[in-house]
Assembly symmetry: C2
Homo-oligomer: 313 residues x 2
Amino acid sequence: MLLLAVKAINASNREFLSQNGITVVTPDTITDEQIPKIVISYAWDNDIGEKILSDPNSKLKWIQAQSAGVDYLPLAQLKERHIIVTNASGLKATPIAQTVLSYILYFSRGLNVYATRHHWEPFTNQYLINELPVLVFGTGKIGQQIAAHIKAFGGTVYGVNTTGHDVPGFDAVYSMSNYQEALVKSRVVVDGLPGTKHTENFFDNQFFEQVNQLYLFINIGRGTTLNQNDLLSAIDDSRVKYAALDVTTPEPLPKNHPLFERPQVLITQHTSWGEHVNAGRTGGLFHLFELNVPSFVSQGIIEHNVVNLEKGY
Amino acid sequence: MLLLAVKAINASNREFLSQNGITVVTPDTITDEQIPKIVISYAWDNDIGEKILSDPNSKLKWIQAQSAGVDYLPLAQLKERHIIVTNASGLKATPIAQTVLSYILYFSRGLNVYATRHHWEPFTNQYLINELPVLVFGTGKIGQQIAAHIKAFGGTVYGVNTTGHDVPGFDAVYSMSNYQEALVKSRVVVDGLPGTKHTENFFDNQFFEQVNQLYLFINIGRGTTLNQNDLLSAIDDSRVKYAALDVTTPEPLPKNHPLFERPQVLITQHTSWGEHVNAGRTGGLFHLFELNVPSFVSQGIIEHNVVNLEKGY
């Protein structure tokens, strides 16, 4: 069975694959003959991926995405061809949740003021975590980790997901069409939504018109879920006090973009996933991938991190 | 029984005192005749305090300090005269511990870089809390709260106190004369020491010579415990990478002080205690004070937050 390693696989992991009857080829060395024989794509590259999918004899069965969001994959086409996609959901929940807490504490403890203050002028207009209830859109692994941190600080945290079904760790969970009751009680909103056609521009003027002096708006989901101009308007008329954005549209954000110019906005340039132990954006990806290998090889079954190609996450 | 309210006491708290037979006078309205009759000083003012102590007929029995540290009180004289001092230890443990976490996450999640970066240049040299073991000097209420937060993030936290006696919540506790084993395992040092003759200049060249690439040095104790010039040297030759100081010598720190000029140093200007619910430096002080009132009035006994005047904390 042939696996295309778009992301590097080290020697011991290759040995594990070999024991499962899987041979690794790389984009550099792959031959035209091997293209249709690829069964697994470990991470995804659009150029070579297109070649594989356009081959009528392609044996591609499984794509292990290198990210939690999979909006850059040709999902409709993959669904039609019964190709299974697994994502990296959970892989970066720990660092991203820590970054979310860093945002909240950065503003609430006044570090945003002190970071650039080079003279003595004390700033005491500070908050405790329990004075800033948090509403998290997206109750998956990242949302749950954020909720756990907020609770550990004695805070209040609400969740929002499609149906409003209960998720452990949140004080209450609301649905995407009925979150207003939680919004009025919240001072911090975390956008942790995946990029789908349903979430595009979800955070727009209509959303921001519902808030008044929201303390902090955070985006660690997808840039597409937020209308940045509408956020800027909301900041400029004080409906939103501060914003912390890990994702933006576009990336990179051009120099002199208004988001760079507003002192109320902190931008972490799509690096909320950073850590040392698993350095690099996909560090640790193989640990997720390998869980599915034995059952896939023996029975064609994949159980963990399977993406619903209809929903897109 | 007369109480001098150096800090304001509101109507309902005055009612509580009145029910316990205590009459409130304030520095503005006190008469010379009342000076020797003061039994309790609620908070301490040096000028009026000196007047009270120099009166041979003074009935002063109890000082409720407005702070956790009491190094500004004439401790030797108070001890000689058997005057009991209670401090505000614990009152600001929650906000101060949150500020300590804000410092750690500020540097570890790269916010120190992004706070002033107005162009796209991603910074991924980030750490997780569990990659940065923390050593806290001072295992009182603030230290314990810091430890709880570090553990909630999956981190490692060691404590240091005078004798090395065990304190719940720390992975291990060491003594002030034997902390080196923990120091070599730690990447973050928190100075939470009280200001006493034993702690003066504790963090000096001799201390910093023991560290190599310490990630972060934090001072939320007393400015006097740190030799700031030695810290600056340690930063300049990379023994210490970053520093976050809530307390400094002097306060206010003068403009153009080298600590203000180093980009590696964050200074929060003695406001780590900030919060909204109990706004103001001594917000909530009465809640600590009132615990001791009934037993003091009926039996002369004070049980909570009593300072050891020999040790000074």
